[in-house]
Symmetry: C2
């Protein structure tokens, strides 16, 4: 280490990046946290904004506000365009750059279309706050358009909602959209019966929630079918258009398609000119550094590493936080010139997914839960992991209202144009 103040730059204020900064509290280093958004996002509940259950501000916090008391931390709203690892500089859009001694890359992932990026306009994915309000607008507009449509075939296409991918996000979207259509919406419309809406969940693999134990997958599928979701397993989508999807050689006419099937890491590998795995992730060393770059760490969805049992570390919030905690520890050891700690070892605490009201699954490995108890634990755990008393209170109230009255308060069509007669700008 040099004798000037050690400079740590963290790119990305998601779960991993923020945890790194939190855990570096009290070191002598100066820290710069760069993000192209001004807010940290609680992604596990993003689907609830997309389905009008929560407001945007309930799951997002201004990053610089979270770190206001950490005077050694500078928050920078900027877009990173590259990394000069020889000069140890992070390059920013607009021409500025930031020097580092240690760099942490925690830039996450975007949804990916398996080489079919042309599907994106027809099948938006769910990663950012803007994604969630875009999906919310499309969902709500679909009902509005159906209400005004007189042709039965087109009306039914407006009332058909396809979700591609049956991981936790796909399952949670499908379940909530079904509840919207079957429980929340019916009294509001005059020309259509929203309970006749079709919610179709298409999955290429053999079961829903592949990351969970098989009996929980079965339970989740039965629960989805009970609330009216059509679950199509072993079906790969071969085409998405403005009119619907093609899968298994069949065309399903649907005006709303949501993409929950694949993700691709941010272009960090390109910045560094190092190899990436198929999903674009940096294959990192056991101490989470990038091979050949001992001063650069990669964590979270940007990094590929295996758990002790040989399975890949999953792209979920707890994994990113564990990695952030670990590398903060490595950096601390380095700063005081101590021996490096043991290699990173991922510990899977459990998997949770909500399916609908009083229906969730939790797979702790050593214990499996389903049904109402799992649902309450799911809810309490998510409120616990939110940041700050205010948002916990606010989300608890929102959920209480949904629970007791089936009313979803954030049913707002914003951005783009709002009336169905107009062309929507996506």
């Amino acid at each position: 280490m040099t004798d000037h103040q050690h400079r740590i730059v963290v790119i990305g204020a998601g779960f991993g990046g923020l945890e790194t900064v939190y855990r570096l509290k009290g070191t002598s280093a100066s820290i710069t946290l760069i993000d192209r958004r001004n807010h940290h996002l609680f992604q596990p509940l993003l689907y609830q904004v997309a389905t009008a259950s929560l407001a945007t501000s309930e799951i997002a916090w201004p990053i610089r506000h979270l770190l206001r008391n950490r005077l050694e931390v500078t928050t920078l709203l900027a877009t990173v365009t590259g990394v000069d690892s020889n000069e140890r500089r992070v390059l920013l859009q607009g021409g500025d750059s930031v020097s580092y001694d240690t760099l942490v890359i925690s830039t996450g992932a975007r949804h990916a279309y398996f080489g079919h990026d042309e599907w994106e306009p027809f099948a938006p994915g769910l990663k950012t706050l803007e994604d969630s309000t875009t999906i919310r607008r499309r969902l709500l507009l679909a009902f509005e358009r159906a209400e005004r449509e007189t042709d039965p075939k087109r009306q039914s296409a407006h009332l058909t909602f396809v979700i591609v991918g049956a991981g936790p996000t796909g399952v949670e979207l499908a379940g909530t959209i079904a509840e919207l259509a079957k429980v929340t919406m019916p009294p509001d419309f005059r020309n259509i019966d929203t309970r006749k809406a079709r919610v179709v969940l298409i999955e290429a693999g053999p079961r829903v929630l592949a990351g969970f134990a098989e009996d929980l997958s079965d339970y989740a599928q039965r629960s989805l079918e009970n609330i009216g979701v059509e679950v199509m397993l072993g079906q790969a989508v071969s085409e998405c258009t403005a009119d619907g999807v093609v899968y298994g050689g069949k065309i399903l006419e649907a005006k709303t398609i949501l993409w929950a099937a694949g993700v691709r890491a941010s272009p960090a590998a390109e910045w560094l000119g190092v190899p990436a795995d198929r999903a674009g992730r940096l294959v990192v060393s056991p101490d989470l550094t990038v091979p050949g770059h001992p001063d650069i760490f990669a964590i979270g969805d940007t990094a590929a590493i295996s758990a002790p049992d040989g399975s890949p570390v999953p792209g979920i919030a707890p994994a990113a936080k564990q990695q952030g905690r670990y590398i903060a520890d490595v950096i601390r050891h380095r700063l005081r010139k101590a021996d490096a700690p043991a290699p990173f070892s991922y510990k899977h605490d459990g998997s949770l997914a909500q399916i609908g009201k009083r229906r969730a699954v939790i797979d702790f490995g050593w214990m499996k839960l389903r049904g109402a108890l799992a649902w309450w634990i799911w809810g309490i755990a998510h409120i616990y992991f939110l940041i700050g008393v205010r948002n916990r209170l606010s989300v608890a109230i929102s959920w209480w209202w949904i629970y007791t009255r089936d009313q979803r308060s954030a049913r707002l069509i914003t951005q783009g144009r709002s009336a169905p007669g107009q062309t929507e700008s996506s």
Copy 2:
């Protein structure tokens, strides 16, 4: 009246239109409520969304949800393009039309630039939910840009906020932005002292809050100056650009200009081919019908009519609601073929404006209030007039947090591009 079911069409679900529909409950008529947004908006608190104090869903409600139990009411999300008053049809974008026997036009107003529409991109106004998130984005980005700017002159332009027009909206915006800069923001930034931000309120007339008693105007001005707002009276703005405003021959460099100076009614007069006043409003008869069109009513910001004392009825929510209540009564009389009720007579209940924490003015005419008591009454009155227990509770909690901790939770930069290095799409 004909012997088919009487068809009432209401265009616009603002305070006036919604009140009309509420008050027509129990009649034999069928009602169609058309709006180009899916939500009713509580406009008096829109500036609080623009200043990151409240979330969008706290002040907006899905229209069809508000009317879900009124089975005779059909809500239509559509943009009106004209009215065929001979055929008695409302024309919709996309080619559809809706027939009426009685038409209510309550389409409100947009901000207006006194013939300088080219100023709009540089000086956005505040009428819709999208306007408020646009302004919020600009305000928050200005601080972010200042934080990254090294040139002192440009930095100070980023930290100069100009509000044009010192009516209630202008005063409330100026006061809240000053509090944001002086109280909420300082701990979050490292390179700038946000307390040095300039908030400049420019007004062409001789005093702020011209609709209030003079001593309340004086108090409001002193209060604004106490929290650091520079109040410029008797100054007409002659130019708005991307770099600032020109007034009184002087150039003030400012990257953020907000427009709260003038409104213009929606194009209802053009739809009907009847004369309008200077602000585009339909000059209506004493029963609020459009002269020559006894079956068409115009109310709220779309209508021009005088109060009993000869002054114009102001463009505020209580006035629109009184008019809605009145015409619902007229329509009820007509439906049962009774004599028409007495002409509309506006009763001014009072004017309220919030200036900052514990500072507000209330002018009841017979009583004038200022300071902390006025502020509490202002807050309680606004919570009372919100719709539904849930939003009242939610707004009360948001305000409590701001009151006790000076934290504003909705500081989210969304829509457009988020990083300062990028060009913002406005």
